[in-house]
Subunit: 110 residues, 2 copies
């Protein structure tokens, strides 16, 4: 039930860019901030949102925080999307196969 947070988290372009950076492997905050158009605190705030959405895991290494992708949030999002995908295709196919659907027209078409 965390897919809603995951969607909201991945909606922001900057945050998505941080997330895509982590696809290459775990990274510290400072390293993530380098090469980004925003400041380091901004990256920290984005990481906080991603973490609360279950998309990212935090691991301490001395004074540094290493962030990595958490498959959990990604999985729940994928499940939601797949379920949606199947149902949508069913409805789409049913609409195509029947020229005059049962409840489609209420007052006649033409």
């Amino acid at each position: 039930m965390t897919y809603n947070n995951a969607l909201a988290a991945l909606a922001d372009p900057t945050r998505r860019r941080v997330f895509e950076q982590l696809r290459l492997g775990p990274r510290a905050v400072g390293r993530l901030a380098k090469g980004m158009p925003v400041s380091r605190p901004a990256v920290s705030q984005h990481l906080k949102v991603l973490k609360e959405a279950g998309l990212v895991r935090e691991e301490r290494d001395g004074a540094r925080r290493i962030y990595a992708i958490d498959p959990k949030g990604l999985g729940s999002l994928r499940r939601w999307l797949d379920q949606f995908w199947d149902d949508a295709l069913d409805a789409f196919q049913a609409a195509v196969e029947s020229p005059s659907p049962p409840k489609q027209t209420r007052r006649g078409r033409k």
Copy 2:
């Protein structure tokens, strides 16, 4: 390359609710607005965003507009997520299998 718009569109809870309504089949605007906590124009605006994101298709039936899920936007979103899913699992597995990664520590761990 429309997955970013799709993510932004599905980020809003109300808009997601409209979209999930359409999972049951094509609906007119007025019918979608009934049972929603917001006004009909608000639903129209949400449908416009969903349409621009490629998530929804519009079909005119007299004075009514019938909206239905467009598999296109859903597909691009799914592809992006799948690619992400694979890469993330690879990186995750690689990180687990190697106790001491190559560039993980810069000044030594302890």
